[in-house]
């Protein structure tokens, strides 16, 4: 087996047993990147120090097996979405405005991964500024879906999801405003976790919509997602919205919790939207049957039609985008505002409109009120239920070019991710089958800070099924 195909868990076991070195593991990933990046366009920048970092990891392993306690991701190569600042390494958010930007400081997520001794392979392609759900708004060309190059990998963390699916990397980091981790994870047939808002620091992440931005892992298994989240989660004095609550994510505990007896799950009927691909819907319902077989108790519930979330999310996100992108003036860093692409103009200008005097109440304030309705409903259903299950995307990956269909393409395809993002909940996307050789995903949503429970049923599902082990044939 090629080393780049390993999961984090397998790679850690191999490194501990000295079956291979971190340098060999890292070189295997770099080899796959060199071989496949021309087709996929998943990496924008490679880390020239990757091999040095791997060698340092090998020295630590040689020094003491106890190093794995101190450095939980010791020697594991990974890919980082290009909106996380990396001190000294170019960071563009896939936007020409930041074409030449070399950060002078690091995002907390990157700093924590560095502290855990993971090895950075490089920075991945994304929709420019994370504005999109196909990676097509990238100023550096779109990323392709490893399952079928004519299809989009989804977005905005499309490069990260494609990198994991094509085994260019052992794991990757993405970020969500609404659906940008779970969506591409689904379309690329890998696992993606959106942690609770405030569970993972936004410090040093190029902001999109600050009231929902949530960094999260894209991995080959749910277990791996737990391993990564455990490292990146937790209070950060540099981000005042991070929670002081202790991190209770315990990957080891997942193995002993494969019986789901007594866990109450709800399926909102409104989430089986009319846009849903019938074959994808069938697969999602089969996955939910499987959860019942594993012991979950299913209830059919009713929530606000997710079509309302499209409006709420569009207004909130574009308003916050218009504010967040006001800072780019090309003076302290980057290029002038004339370098903004069409999609940035589309979002900033509409956000400026919805925040304008005379329209604020009609749009922005109305959206924030409906947001309250959505949150109240979730609070109500979580009084009787542990988790909510359903589809994450209305169907499998769309063809490259699909984003041209609508000025709200991203907001429309992400409608099933938007309610939980608006409410700041945690959600997991994991593979549950194929339609026309393209992956389909199941979504598991939990209340704020219920990551362990969400991961628990996701892990149990993956123990009982093998969808997550399927590889895109061209990259296997």
């Amino acid at each position: 087996m090629n080393l780049n195909k390993l999961t984090i868990k397998q790679a850690l076991e191999g490194l501990k047993a000295k079956r291979f070195s971190s340098e060999e593991l890292t070189r295997a990933c770099l080899k796959q990147i060199n071989k496949t990046n021309k087709q996929l366009n998943s990496f924008l920048t490679l880390n020239p120090k990757a091999i040095d970092e791997a060698k340092t990891a090998d020295k630590r392993i040689a020094a003491s097996i106890k190093s794995f306690k101190k450095y939980p991701l010791l020697g594991i190569p990974y890919a980082l979405k290009d909106n996380f600042l990396t001190n000294g390494l170019r960071t563009t958010a896939s936007a020409k405005v930041l074409d030449n930007y070399i950060p002078q400081y690091s995002a907390t997520v990157y700093a924590r991964l560095k502290q855990s001794a993971a090895v950075l392979l490089g920075k991945t392609n994304m929709d420019a500024w994370a504005h999109g759900s196909s990676t097509e708004t990238s100023d550096y060309g779109t990323t392709r879906n490893p399952w079928n190059l004519n299809h989009t990998p989804g977005g905005s963390s499309g490069g990260s999801a494609a990198a994991v699916a094509a085994d260019q990397s052992i794991f990757a980091i993405g970020s969500e405003t609404a659906g940008s981790v779970r969506g591409p994870a689904c379309w690329c047939g890998v696992t993606g976790l959106k942690p609770t808002y405030g569970r993972v620091s936004r410090y040093g992440v190029i902001a999109m919509a600050s009231s929902t931005d949530s960094p999260g892992p894209i991995t080959k298994t749910v277990y791996d997602a737990a391993l990564v989240t455990q490292v990146i989660a937790g209070h950060d004095p540099f981000d005042a919205t991070t929670s002081q609550k202790p991190v209770d994510i315990k990957p080891q505990a997942l193995s002993s919790q494969t019986n789901l007896k007594g866990i109450k799950i709800g399926l909102p009927q409104e989430y089986l939207v009319k846009e849903m691909d019938p074959k994808a819907k069938k697969l999602v319902l089969q996955a939910i049957d499987k959860l019942q077989q594993l012991g979950c108790q299913l209830e059919k519930i009713s929530l606000l039609d997710p079509h309302y979330s499209i409006g709420v999310y569009t207004i909130i996100q574009r308003s916050e985008v218009s504010s967040n992108l006001a800072r780019y003036d090309g003076i302290r860093y980057g290029n002038s505002r004339s370098h903004f692409n069409y999609e940035a103009k589309n979002r900033v200008m509409l956000g400026t409109y919805t925040l304008s005097t005379g329209y604020y109440d009609q749009y922005y304030n109305k959206a924030q009120k409906v947001r309250t309705l959505i949150i109240n409903q979730f609070n109500q259903v979580f009084k009787n239920l542990d988790l909510i299950v359903g589809p994450i995307m209305p169907g499998p990956a769309l063809k490259v070019g699909a984003s041209q269909a609508s000025p709200m393409f991203g907001e429309l395809v992400d409608m099933l991710a938007e309610p939980s993002s608006i409410a700041g909940l945690t959600g997991l996307s994991l593979p549950c089958g194929f339609v026309n050789h393209l992956p389909v995903g199941l979504q598991i949503t939990g209340p704020q800070f219920a990551e362990q429970k969400v991961l628990q049923i996701g892990h149990a599902y993956q123990q009982a099924t093998d969808w997550h082990t399927k590889k895109p044939p061209a990259y296997d």
């Binding site: 409006g311 218009s322 003076i331 505002r337 589309n346 400026t352 109305k366």
Partner: protein
């Protein structure tokens, strides 16, 4: 929402340069977007307040102390600037 959005005014407010072709496409797109989001008006929100953030956290303060670990030197701060003069950023003139 039948009122047409003034694209050029919005471009000016948000300091974006927009070609006439883009302005046309943006204008059509904005009408379509505003139509889609007008669905929200169907919901009764007269009895709910607005939610601006979801953490429930209030008044998060820090000590008013300089953290040397994240203070940039003048050289570092200027490292990405295209125009600088004697250790300062050069900005476009404000007064004519």
């Amino acid at each position: 929402m039948s009122k047409k959005v003034d694209v050029n005014h919005l471009a000016k407010l948000s300091q974006m340069t927009v070609t006439s072709q883009q302005a046309k496409k943006l204008s059509t797109g904005f009408s379509e977007t505003l139509k889609t989001i007008s669905l929200l008006q169907k919901l009764d929100t007269s009895k709910v307040s607005s939610t601006f953030q979801v953490t429930g956290l209030k008044n998060i303060f820090r000590q008013d102390k300089i953290n040397q670990a994240r203070t940039l030197s003048q050289k570092q701060a200027l490292s990405n600037a295209k125009k600088k003069y004697k250790g300062y950023f050069v900005i476009p003139a404000i007064f004519k």
